[in-house]
């Protein structure tokens, strides 16, 4: 039983009260604009799917998890000005295996009761200034002092990728875990396109990126550091130059690569000696041909097929490691109105069929829950695996379409989780020494690191009824039913009886003559 948050000197009150009221154990909320291009940019430091993603572990003392989930998403929607209130049972899933948080010795892990876990993604969510402002307000110094002065919206959203996240979890204060504290981690991942803004050169500076410089550290902060990646490529030195001189240089093995970081400690008095502001600049001495090495694991997903009746979702997973094979967990969530046919699921690697070691499939219930497909696939070394599954598009009721139905419906990104073998062996990072850095790049085992990737969200068109016609359709169908009913009623209540034949007038006799000629019985 975790105690409620009681000190609000650093921890924001809005989140603290929320966490206590809903019995939350761990909370992760990410709002992302854009898509992380793994092939060109490498592994993301912290992956997030496009749109809004929320996953929460509740404490086992919570009586009704679904009710708590609904209230939590509504309150968060208010705090972050995001439409998280659209999270309901049709896009929430309870996921068995893929969402175990990264293994971290400091995290008091809740165990494996999956009924306490809820996960939802809203791929349609747009992130903008109104979401950044409440995020900044959660910081102890706000955006007035410290590193957060750099975060001005007009520069931050002028980027290729923008992801802001909030993570709350309990942390053991010491090795015996007798005292537990709440940890709030706020992350902001932005990819600036320096080519479009930097006159074609890859040099950057804080001023060019944020149109501001750092002036001082937040008075409430016990640590305030800037890390700049100055890893030499191919062991060449003097390829780039960083100004001003960093306070220290830190080396670590991160995501399988040995990296060197220049550290600027804002709390050290020597930093602001010469000038009142800190503008970190990086200049390249020579043009570089190859940027980053291809990441070991990356994936793409797309929809194929034509017409509005059927389609096929294909996921391509690349393993570029030269000699190591490793398994990956693929979690696909597809909304209920795309009816998946699991007998059409095929996994092909290098031209041969690849049977997954484990499949968990939970079919969708119309208007209640989405499809959940989770598989453990072995990826052989240096291969591309293609996972395809066919679906059928459903016709929805006219009120279930969004106001712009021809835009299409979003399918949330699929999640790939893997323990990727690293090319270089890592040593155990001393957590006490640099807790922030370690929490960003945790590693449990020397030989592999945990990676969570998200694929693209998909946009799928559904057949639409004519929205201008509800009254007309009701009238026409009821008319047809009434015509049928009327015909049957007519003939069921009609009897036949004999009429005395009467010789009629001249017209009748003439008509009879004509009828006799035709061969039809006379009147």
């Amino acid at each position: 039983m975790l105690r409620a948050v009681s000190h609000y000197r650093l921890f924001p009150k809005a989140l603290g009260q929320l966490v206590a009221a809903q019995g939350v154990r761990e909370l992760h909320l990410a709002l992302t604009q854009g898509f992380w291009r793994t092939q060109s940019w490498g592994q993301p430091p912290l992956g997030a799917p496009a749109g809004a993603e929320l996953w929460v572990w509740f404490q086992d003392s919570v009586p009704d998890v679904d009710k708590a989930w609904k209230e939590l998403s509504n309150v968060l929607s208010g705090i972050f000005c995001a439409s998280l209130n659209f999270i309901d049972s049709t896009n929430t899933r309870v996921v068995p295996a893929a969402l175990m948080p990264a293994v971290n010795p400091l995290s008091a892990h809740p165990g494996t009761d999956h009924r306490l876990l809820r996960y939802a993604v809203l791929p349609r969510e747009v992130v903008c200034t109104e979401n950044l402002t409440p995020w900044k307000k959660l910081l102890p110094c706000g955006s007035k002092a410290g590193l957060a002065v750099l975060l001005k919206a007009e520069r931050l959203f002028h980027s290729s990728y923008h992801s802001q996240a909030v993570h709350v979890r309990p942390i053991c204060r010491d090795a015996s875990c007798l005292a537990v504290s709440w940890e709030l981690r706020q992350t902001l991942t932005v990819v600036f396109d320096s080519f479009t803004s930097g006159q074609g050169k890859k040099d950057w500076s804080l001023f060019k990126m944020f149109s501001r410089t750092l002036t001082d550290a937040c008075p409430l902060a016990s640590e305030s550091k800037v890390y700049v990646d100055i890893s030499p490529k191919n062991k060449e030195k003097e390829l780039l130059e960083v100004t001003p001189t960093p306070t220290s240089v830190h080396e670590a093995v991160v995501q399988g690569d040995k990296r060197t970081y220049a550290v600027y400690d804002l709390l050290s008095p020597s930093l602001f000696n010469s000038s009142r502001s800190l503008n970190v600049q990086l200049k390249w001495k020579r043009p570089q041909d190859k940027e980053l090495s291809t990441p070991v694991l990356h994936a793409q997903r797309y929809v194929s097929g034509y017409g509005l009746q059927t389609g096929e979702i294909s996921t391509l997973i690349h393993n570029t490691h030269p000699y190591r094979a490793f398994p990956v967990i693929l979690l696909e969530t597809v909304p209920w109105y795309l009816r998946l046919y699991v007998h059409t699921l095929t996994i092909i690697t290098k031209g041969k069929e690849n049977k997954p070691s484990y499949i968990h499939y939970q079919p969708a219930q119309d208007r209640k829950r989405p499809h959940l497909l989770e598989m453990l696939i072995q990826l052989p070394a240096n291969s591309v695996t293609k996972v395809t599954i066919q679906f059928e598009r459903a016709l929805l009721k006219w009120t279930e379409y969004t106001p712009d139905p021809n835009h299409g419906f979003y399918v949330s990104p699929s999640v790939l989780s893997a323990l990727v073998p690293s090319v270089i062996a890592t040593k155990d990072v001393d957590v006490e020494e640099s807790p922030l850095f370690a929490s960003l790049f945790p590693s449990s085992d020397g030989s592999s690191y945990f990676v969570r990737l998200y694929t693209e969200p998909l946009l799928v068109n559904l057949p639409t009824p004519d929205f201008s016609m509800p009254y007309n359709v009701i009238c026409l169908t009821c008319t047809v039913v009434a015509v049928c009913y009327g015909s049957f009623y007519n003939l069921l209540t009609r009897t036949f009886h004999v009429e005395e034949p009467s010789r009629g007038g001249l017209a009748k006799r003439l008509a009879n003559v004509i009828r006799k000629l035709r061969g039809v019985p006379p009147l």
């Binding site: 929805l396 639409t464 169908t477 015909s487 069921l492 009609r494 009429e499 034949p501």
Partner: protein
């Protein structure tokens, strides 16, 4: 008579086998007119795949077949094409034997009425001769086997064919007079698609007629026989449902099969009236109209039973047509079953007025269905209203054809008794106006 039947069967089997091997098989299997969410073959395969994965096939919203079908195809999945060809052949043979027996009964009754001098003297043209009735069973088998609707249904491997076979066996058992078998087959048909429960009334009427029990509410033997038949039927139904429970050890199939048929949650387009109506329905009235539409299927039974108690087989035919027009997920396989009976009433054709127009309506609509579907779903140049309009027209055509046939049965019967002259209809209510024969 066996030789021509065998020839017809061979031709039918050849046609189906040829279509199975061609590229049209995949195209036909995707057609929504032939495969509905209730009886598509793709969904049967999906259900079996889910069972292999260890998930209950009824946990999702894809599979709506009964557990007995799962059981059947679990063993016969390799021979699926053969199974469907055999079911078609069995249906045709059952209908053939049933109509053969029925013709004998009709002829005997006619002979009796002639001897009792019940017919007017100048109705010689209306008396049916053995010669004309000789080829009717073969025509029925032909109509069923070579009907394009049946062929498409078989090539698509829609389980509607299995339902048709069970109903055909039910009709055969009823006409042969075996109450037990009739009850069992009716229970199987109801178990699979719920609507054949309305065929209980015509079957009961036929069996009562065969036993020479008069249909009077005061008669004790009438109630005794009715209770017996009802008990047989209900017991078989209960046994079959309990058997299904033991096959998969859960009652999940009841909401998935019967709940699905009655509440119509899936709005996949088909040739019926439900889908677009409920796609455009205001949410508030949805339940009300679902109830109204479902009641619409069942409530023609009692009035038709009162009106057509002398002609129970005709009543059965009309009831089959009503089911296939008004059911929640109709397909052309259902239409094919009642169309197979049309040769039996060929003596009524001289009385039908609009037969040409109605046949044209049905043929043109059948041809327009795939065209407008393509325009809506693939070409994007039409919208759902076009397909919906053809659905409406098709159903009106079917209903008018049915309602054209029914009064002719009565009129012919009355004509036979009273002669062809001066003959008009009278409504039992206040307004009595005379109509001429040719306008009726």
């Amino acid at each position: 008579m066996a030789a021509p039947l065998v020839l017809v069967v061979l031709v039918a089997v050849t046609v189906r086998a040829a279509l199975y091997r061609s590229s049209l098989a995949a195209f036909i299997a995707e057609r929504v007119e032939v495969a509905s969410p209730l009886n598509a073959w793709k969904r049967v395969v999906e259900g079996l795949a889910l069972l292999d994965l260890g998930v209950s096939p009824y946990s999702g919203a894809i599979f709506h077949e009964t557990p007995l079908i799962i059981y059947l195809f679990h063993f016969l999945i390799e021979y699926a094409e053969l199974v469907f060809m055999i079911t078609d052949v069995l249906t045709a043979v059952a209908l053939y034997l049933a109509i053969q027996d029925y013709n004998k009964v009709v002829f005997k009754k006619q002979k009796l009425l002639i001897e009792l001098d019940k017919y007017a003297p100048d109705v010689a043209e209306l008396i049916r001769t053995p010669m004309e009735m000789h080829y009717i069973p073969l025509k029925v088998a032909l109509f069923y086997l070579l009907n394009p609707y049946t062929v498409m249904s078989c090539v698509a491997k829609s389980t509607c064919a299995i339902n048709n076979t069970v109903i055909a066996f039910f009709i055969l058992a009823t006409i042969k007079g075996s109450a037990f078998l009739s009850a069992v087959f009716l229970a199987l048909a109801t178990y699979q698609s719920l609507y054949p429960i309305t065929l209980f009334a015509p079957a009961l009427l036929y069996l009562l007629q065969r036993q020479f029990i008069p249909i009077k509410p005061k008669s004790k033997s009438f109630w005794l026989y009715t209770m017996q038949y009802a008990a047989l039927y209900l017991c078989s139904l209960v046994v079959i449902i309990c058997l299904s429970f033991f096959l998969l050890n859960s009652w999940d199939f009841i909401p998935s099969v019967y709940g699905f048929i009655l509440s119509v949650p899936d709005l996949t387009p088909n040739i019926g009236l439900f889908w677009y109506f409920f796609a455009e329905m205001f949410e508030h009235f949805s339940l009300f109209f679902v109830c109204v539409f479902q009641i619409n299927v069942f409530f023609y039974t009692i009035p038709l039973a009162v009106k057509l108690k002398e002609h129970p087989v005709f009543f059965m035919f009309v009831q089959l047509a009503i089911i296939s027009i008004f059911k929640s997920y109709p397909t052309v396989g259902d239409v094919a079953l009642y169309m197979a009976f049309l040769p039996v009433w060929s003596h009524l054709y001289r009385f039908l007025r609009n037969i040409f127009i109605l046949s044209c309506v049905l043929i043109v609509c059948s041809l327009l269905f795939p065209v407008l579907w393509h325009l809506w779903i693939y070409a994007g140049s039409a919208n759902s209203n076009f397909y919906y309009a053809i659905t409406l027209t098709f159903n009106i055509g079917q209903a008018r054809k049915q309602s054209a046939l029914v009064p002719q049965q009565n009129r012919r019967a009355a004509w036979g008794r009273q002669g062809p002259h001066g003959f008009h209809a009278r409504f039992p209510c206040s307004v009595q106006f005379l109509r001429k024969v040719h306008r009726l």
